[in-house]
């Protein structure tokens, strides 16, 4: 028996699988592989043409941005609720609230990237706009999600 022979291996453990070997069930458009190198070259050239500002922006690690947005949400949330619900239920509100915000900020910044990543050039001409738009988006959604944990920890419906 040839060492590392797949057919022998399958014959012992899964004979039906061994019989199915050979067929490729997927298909590709005609000429796809002939054109693929050219497509890759075009996409690569388009990536390189992006202005230095945008390239530098995308160099910022996503987690670092998520951390910054989490911090901003925590600060904003603190001022928002410090005069109301937290006074009524300090321990529970702080625990759920900060934990939730940390997760939410990471998700929302990731969601923002996913939503806009392919269309950055369409949506934003100035890299600075991206920062402002992202922060505005996070704050809007942050406000939305703030309501639920606040209602829960404050014992409201």
């Amino acid at each position: 028996m040839k060492k590392d022979d797949l057919h022998e291996e399958l014959r012992g453990i899964a004979p039906e699988l061994q019989k199915l070997k050979g067929d490729n069930p997927f298909s590709v458009p005609e000429g796809y592989f002939e054109n693929l190198p050219h497509q890759i070259q075009q996409k690569r050239a388009a990536t390189q043409k992006r202005p230095l500002g945008q390239g530098a922006y995308w160099g910022i690690p996503r987690m670092a941005l998520a951390g910054v947005t989490a911090l901003m949400l925590i600060v904003a949330g603190y001022f928002y609720i410090s005069n109301s619900y937290l006074q009524q239920n300090d321990f529970a509100a702080n625990y759920y609230f900060e934990d939730y915000l940390g997760w939410n900020a990471e998700f929302q910044s990731g969601y923002f990237y996913d939503m806009y990543a392919d269309d950055m050039e369409t949506f934003f001409s100035d890299p600075q706009e991206i920062d402002e738009e992202l922060l505005e988006y996070i704050m809007d959604y942050g406000d939305y999600y703030l309501e639920s944990p606040l209602a829960i920890v404050a014992g409201l419906e």
């Binding site: 797949l6 004979p15 699988l17 070997k21 067929d23 069930p25 997927f26 298909s27 690569r44």
Partner: protein, 184 residues
């Protein structure tokens, strides 16, 4: 007229030290595009998704190849990038819509049964649905071994997992799929 076949070391040398890295890069793309494409396609099922991911793989490789030392070999390196891109894509799909894996699996299964870009052979469809039922990393192991007949030694370098663990994973996956085919 056939193109001359260069080894990975020659291609890397050409890319890193010649005046025309584009030429070497094109040769590298042509050498690996089909293998990388099929590896990704088997994971993400949809041709358009696979197309986007494959292009990302090669663009990332372009950016990093200048500093690539070649310790692991181009083959291993490309497969590693492609596997990570495909799994990240599937993970992102799950996270974006807050859906658990089995719903992503169901959505991919619908692409298989819709016959668009897929064979009409019912047994092959059943096989693909069975593979979809595996955990993601086990799918990778199964695909590499079953469809590409990759040696465990090479797979171990790509996935950074011991050969023993990979063999066990493949055996379990094969048995599960065999059972699925018998019961469906």
């Amino acid at each position: 007229m056939g193109m001359k076949e260069y080894s990975d070391e020659q291609l890397l040398e050409m890319f890193q030290h010649s005046d025309n890295p584009n030429y070497a890069y094109n040769l590298i793309v042509r050498k690996y595009q089909e293998r990388i494409y099929w590896h990704v396609r088997r994971l993400v099922i949809d041709h358009e998704d696979a197309n986007d991911l494959v292009q990302e793989v090669f663009i990332k490789a372009w950016k990093a190849m200048g500093n690539f030392r070649g310790d692991s070999g181009l083959f291993t390196w490309f497969y590693r990038i492609a596997t990570n891109e495909a799994l990240s894509f599937l993970e992102k799909k799950k996270r974006r819509f807050f859906i658990p894996w089995h719903d992503v699996e169901h959505a991919l299964g619908e692409k298989i049964t819709s016959e668009n870009g897929f064979t009409k052979n019912e047994i092959q469809k059943k096989l693909q649905l069975a593979i979809l039922s595996l955990p993601q990393k086990q799918r990778v192991v199964f695909n590499l071994r079953y469809f590409e007949e990759m040696k465990y030694e090479e797979m171990s370098r790509i996935l950074d997992t011991s050969q023993g663990a990979l063999k066990a994973s493949f055996h379990h996956a094969s048995k599960k799929i065999e059972e699925y085919l018998k019961n469906n």
